[in-house]
């Protein structure tokens, strides 16, 4: 239920609706976008970053909160472990049980490898499960992978690695076909044609969806397939440190049982880091749309083992997180709400921008509306702008919201807000890690030829901003590829003696640079318990 002050603003939104719907708001020019980002996007605020003091990205900037973890020591410095007696000994070790990890597991298993997947919480507890809007692929007659490339390259500020983006767009249709053949229920019309819409920054309607449970439908299908194949899945077990061998290759991982606190050793000929994003680090104190375990563990482990990062300073703030009610603060309001026609409207009832600009531009414009322009709606936790959802029912007919975005409808109805009849309040939320560990087009890191990275932990696929629907796509494309590549590679890998010496040399480097932070990393879980001021919960 909205407050009386909010309701007064709702009246203004209603009063301008008919007039607003007669025309489409203008899109910004390239120059306008650049100026807006410089002034209002959090990536461009210098005080949110710190310089990395050691390692391959020394001298580059990184968000403060991630910097603290990169400048912290391993959990294992004072722990004695017998690396010669591994609990698990496999061809392919996958760390992370989200969409990328599950896709990798299926493909590596299909290729005949001995696979094991470890995951900090349950398999499927991942950002994949929460992706609502859809997955891009250029599979319609008026579209092409080249057009998809252009949209993604421009949307990412011309910074994507061409060899990675090529794989993303060229393998997109096959990714959809693979998912379809596993039984994912895409939205189709009676002829079998995919029902596709626009996302922010797309020039063609290539957003495929499964209502607004797109990621959930994909994740639960992949999880079911992993279980059907009887692939070993070790849940509530976190990777906490990569193990190397005496030849400088990766050779496995030290695992931590999240419930008992017990360590174990996994030896592996190839390792795939599929640990996902970092929303739960709450950069610049933003709320997040991410799942509980999104704490950049893979970035920390990979960097400590010597793998370089790329674009670690670019974060995606999703323009439309929930601003009200407080219980849902930061939860995602899928971009599909705007794809279906809802406009962004300020407290005065004015449509202040085109609703389908790219995410970074939209987020910056909303922040400007709520700060400099003073046209935000005040909420208990800050402010927000309206997303005029009743427009969807007017444009698509009564019942469109229930049919196309049932999760959104349910989420708001729980708190007495009927988005079919009233607009909703939104503000940017920390959504995606654009950067991550650097890989080549084949999925391997550039410093260890048997360490792969897939999913949100990768940097460079999207450049410095990601388009809606390209993340569900990348976890499938790069997850599948990593599984196949790791299985093939494992046949030729002969491991030397296992060692954690890099953990000690990292400590020494930190100390020499005077950069050692208190506490240990990776973080594993955010510290939300009110009485918990400890730096480590184990």
């Amino acid at each position: 239920m909205f407050t009386p002050e909010m309701m007064a603003s709702v009246r203004k939104v209603e009063a301008t609706r008919e007039q607003r719907m007669k025309s489409e708001p203008a899109r910004m020019s390239a120059e306008e976008k650049e100026a807006l980002l410089q002034a209002f996007h959090p990536d461009y605020c210098k005080d949110g970053f710190v310089e990395i003091k050691i390692g391959p990205n020394k001298g580059e900037k990184v968000p403060l909160e991630l910097g603290k973890l990169l400048h912290s020591n391993s959990r294992l410095l004072d722990v004695t472990l017998d690396l010669s007696k591994p609990e698990y000994d496999v061809d392919v070790l996958i760390i992370g049980g989200g969409g990328a990890g599950a896709a990798a597991a299926i493909e590596a298993h299909e290729a005949g490898a001995n696979v094991c997947l470890v995951t900090k919480l349950r398999i499927g507890d991942a950002n994949t499960m929460m992706a609502e809007g859809g997955i891009q692929a250029a599979d319609k007659p008026g579209d092409s992978p080249v057009q998809h490339y252009l949209d993604a390259f421009g949307g990412g500020h011309f910074a994507a690695r061409p060899e990675l983006l090529r794989r993303l767009v060229m393998e997109a249709p096959d990714a959809i076909r693979w998912l379809n053949d596993l039984g994912v229920m895409f939205d189709k019309d009676e002829n079998g044609d995919m029902i596709t819409t626009h996302g922010g920054g797309t020039s063609r309607k290539r957003m495929h969806a499964c209502k607004d449970y797109s990621g959930a439908e994909i994740m639960r299908t992949l999880r079911d397939e992993v279980i059907n194949r009887k692939i070993p899945v070790i849940e509530f077990t976190s990777g906490i440190e990569l193990i190397k061998d005496t030849n400088g290759r990766v050779a496995g991982c030290v695992l931590l049982n999240m419930e008992t606190g017990e360590y174990s050793v996994a030896r592996a000929k190839t390792v795939i880091l599929a640990t996902g994003g970092a929303g739960r680090l709450h950069y610049r104190s933003f709320p997040t749309s991410n799942h509980y375990g999104a704490t950049a563990d893979g970035l920390v482990m990979g960097y400590r083992a010597g793998a370089p990062l790329l674009y670690q300073d670019t974060i995606q703030y999703h323009p439309t997180g929930v601003a009200y009610p407080s219980q849902l603060f930061g939860a995602l309001v899928t971009e599909k709400v705007r794809s279906l026609g809802a406009m962004l409207v300020n407290a005065e009832g004015e449509a202040f921008m085109h609703p389908l600009e790219t995410r970074d531009v939209s987020a910056a414009a909303i922040i400007r509306e709520c700060s400099e322009r003073g046209k935000g709606v005040t909420t208990p936790l800050g402010s927000g702008v309206w997303l005029d959802t009743p427009m969807i029912e007017i444009l698509g007919g009564e019942g469109t919201i229930e049919r196309r975005i049932p999760a959104m409808l349910r989420m708001y109805l729980n708190y007495g807000i009927d988005m079919r009849k009233q607009p909703i309040l939104v503000y940017p939320t920390l959504h995606y890690q654009n950067g991550g560990l650097e890989i080549g087009g084949d999925g391997f890191t550039k410093v260890m030829d048997n360490l792969l990275v897939a999913g949100e932990a990768v940097g460079g696929i999207h450049g410095r901003n990601r388009l809606m629907g390209n993340s569900l796509l990348d976890i499938i494309v790069f997850g599948r590829n990593a599984g196949k590549a790791a299985a093939a590679k494992s046949k030729s890998v002969e491991l030397g003696e296992l060692t954690l010496a890099h953990v000690e040399s990292y400590r020494d480097e930190l100390a020499a640079a005077g950069a050692t932070e208190e506490g240990v990393s990776p973080l594993l879980l955010p510290q939300y318990a009110r009485h918990e001021n400890k730096s480590c919960s184990f």
Partner: protein
């Protein structure tokens, strides 16, 4: 002073702000969650919870991340429930009624008590989708069960021992793979790419100078 309510986590009393969810109230009380906490936004089903309001007889089920605390709430989180998933080869099964009889025969023991539907945290008509599965109407079962987050509250309450989320999942996979019509445009595009139809074009755009890419991007035609 904030408006506070008394809640009982595993029977122990805590005073917490009234506007918190069960999940954030547990953290306010000092719990560090491992089990019973996943996406925190109502999509993953990790935080299945049973509660009863003091003085009332009715036992309720909910997702802890989507439910506000209330005065006198006695809360038990369900850390894990042994849902019974049967394994199969998706390429071998067929969308025939026989599949359910073989993999989930217990659905025919449903006594029609409707406890599953009452327990559903997503307000789905669970008993109806089980009935549709019994009849072999997988497409309707898939549609009816689509919003399931797999929290398992239905299975906790079922006297027949049915693992409802698994039944819905099988129906959806059968529907997605076998019953929904083929997307011919998709099949065609995959073949085109595999035959190399886009190789030269993609190579070309990958090698264009940035300035030319900017021009192409800023002047590209937008589908209406």
């Amino acid at each position: 002073m904030e408006n506070m309510v008394n809640v009982y986590f595993n029977g122990k009393k805590y005073s917490v702000p009234a506007d918190l969810t069960i999940m954030t109230a547990m953290e306010y009380a000092g719990y560090t969650l491992k089990r019973g906490c996943g996406c925190r936004h109502g999509f993953c089903g990790a935080c299945a919870t049973i509660y009863r309001i003091k003085g009332k007889n009715e036992l309720k089920t909910c997702l802890a991340c989507q439910t506000k605390v209330q005065e006198g709430m006695y809360v038990a989180s369900i850390p894990y429930f042994p849902t019974d998933k049967r394994t199969y080869d998706i390429n071998e099964v067929k969308p025939e009624q026989r599949v359910m009889m073989e993999l989930y025969p217990e659905i025919y023991s449903c006594i029609g008590c409707n406890a599953c539907t009452k327990a559903c945290t997503q307000s789905l008509n669970v008993m109806r989708y089980i009935a549709l599965a019994q009849r072999g109407d997988f497409a309707a079962c898939a549609e009816e069960s689509f919003d399931c987050v797999g929290c398992g509250c239905c299975s906790v309450r079922c006297p027949a021992g049915i693992s409802h989320p698994m039944v819905g999942l099988l129906a959806r996979r059968l529907t997605g793979k076998y019953i929904a019509p083929e997307s011919e445009h998709l099949t065609k595009r995959v073949e085109e790419i595999n035959s190399g139809a886009y190789d030269a074009l993609i190579e070309q755009i990958m090698n264009k100078p940035i300035e030319e890419m900017k021009e192409l991007y800023n002047t590209r035609e937008m589908e209406r």
